[in-house]
Amino acid sequence: MATITSGREKVLELPKPELKRSVMNVLGWGLFALILMWSWDGADMRPMELIRDSGNMVKFVEGFFPPNFVEWEIYAQEMLITIQLAVWGTVLAVICSIPCGILSSENIAPWWIVQPMRRLMDAARAINEIVFAMLFVVAVGLGPFAGVLALWVHTTGILAKLFSEAVEAIDPSPVEGIRATGATRLEEVIYGVIPQVLPLWISYSLYRFESNVRSATVLGIVGAGGIGMILWEVIRGFQYAETAAIVIIIVVSVSILDIISQRLRKLVI
């Protein structure tokens, strides 16, 4: 315990800022500023126009009000189809992600299976579902089925990665316990690995379902079914009141599904 006896307080020295760190700080922020400036032209940034044309903007926004719900039954019907195609796209992806995820896990499969499988999943993930949707529209024709296929392929890429990360984080000792009984590799996975990762897998799958409903609302723009198809039509027809109605229906349904899915995810973890 230090006691002050002399009446003179001891002056504690603050640690000197490290030169290297401050230089790094300045360089880091400088670099960030450079990147912003470099991107300015390419991104065609014209902030002044927002202010100059604010009158037009107000007029544009006014066009959305009041929303026109006259054809709400068609919108609701299309929203339902959107959800249904997200359901199938997600379920098929979950089914495929189980083997693909396990085969991309370093602690389960040998490297000569893991590496090609991972690259394949990388590719499925790297290509946006809209791109897949355009390709599948060509292959199987216009309509929700093309959307299902697009979500299926893209989501498999994402879920397989998430699933394999869960598998790589498991506790290996129960698996060893199963192995010691003379079980096969497949039985080790079924009894030792899957029970450990199941809660996470379910949670990831529900989360992807939420995202897929959101993605499915735009798939229609390229003709792959769902509410995006009519949304695109009304926007192109400058029917902003109808656009507002559709957007409201999308926001409400997506929010409801998000809430339900969040509750379910809390249940399983």
Binding site: E176, G177, G182, A183, T184, P195
Partner: protein
């Protein structure tokens, strides 16, 4: 035919760390053998080699491990038939190695995985008689009432007994227990050791158990194999274990062991008495 035959087994970790040095060991069917030695002396490593869970050094240095005459590994390679040999070996681990999210009953039933068809295993189709068998095994170790619970809800001692039940259901003639009581309290430790001794006495199954606690080793196991720095330094009757041997194993500066030494030093009579007591426990169990 010997239950376990280990010939010239060597294991080197990371190129320099010789974990097992030229181990030769023969264990006859129905024996109950304790593996003792300080931490890092190679007890667990030896058990995992016998179970074929890790391969020994490549080439002749790897030696071989035979269980009931079948090679589980030879010259540093796990035998292609290891899976079949493992069916005859039940392993009980220090950390129980149960699948915590599965029920106790399902954990015990996994002991049958080496014996049922892949199709039934895939869909978890265990028949009634198999479930009865699992329940009986749980009853034998005194925890049948926990069958429906998740394994994670059991205490350490109960989990370890569930692991023993799994080995029983497996029908393994050899049970390898790797420090089964190292993380248990004394009362649970006694129950687990009683269960192992009972299985050894009643079913004549071979039991090899590695132990930190020398008193348990001397009490329950008629034969002791002691390891130091990866080599067998004593292999004989537990009645003949002397304080000198223990000092040699654990070093005499180790304070906790002084009590043990006193116990062992109190005369060979005490040790024989302990062995007799061990038999009594087995009979009573």
């Amino acid at each position: 035919m010997a239950a376990i035959q280990v010939n010239r087994l060597n294991k080197t970790f990371g190129g320099t760390n010789r974990a097992l040095k030229d181990i030769n060991l023969t264990i006859q069917p129905g024996e109950m053998v304790a593996l003792i030695g300080a931490s890092g002396s190679g007890k667990s490593t030896l058990i995992r080699h016998i179970a074929g869970l890790i391969p020994a050094d490549r080439g002749d240095a790897g030696g071989e491990v035979l269980v009931h005459g079948d090679a589980i590994q030879a010259q540093g390679r796990i035998s292609p038939d290891a899976r079949k040999v493992r069916v005859g070996i039940g392993v009980v681990f220090q950390q129980f190695n149960l699948v915590e999210r599965l029920s106790v009953l399902t954990n015990v039933l996994t002991g049958l995985l080496g014996q049922i068809s892949g199709f039934r295993a895939f869909f978890g189709l265990f028949i009634k008689s198999e479930k009865q068998l699992a329940l009986k095994a749980l009853d034998r170790v005194g925890i049948a009432h926990t069958a429906g619970q998740r394994a994670s809800t059991l205490s350490g001692g109960q989990q370890q007994r569930a692991a023993i039940a799994r080995a029983l259901v497996q029908g393994a003639a050899v049970i390898l227990a790797d420090e089964p009581i190292a993380s248990l309290d004394p009362a649970s430790s006694k129950r687990v050791m009683d269960a192992l001794a009972q299985i050894n006495a009643e079913d004549a199954r071979t039991v090899v158990v590695s132990l930190h606690q020398v008193d348990y080793a001397l009490k329950y196991c008629p034969r002791v194999v002691a390891l130091r720095a990866g080599a067998v330094v004593y292999d004989g009757a537990s009645a003949d274990v002397t304080p000198d041997i223990l000092r040699d194993l654990y070093g005499d500066e180790c304070e906790e062991l002084m009590g043990l030494e006193d116990q062992a030093a109190s005369g060979a009579g005490a040790t024989t008495h302990v062995t007799a007591d061990g038999d009594l426990v087995v009979a009573a169990g």
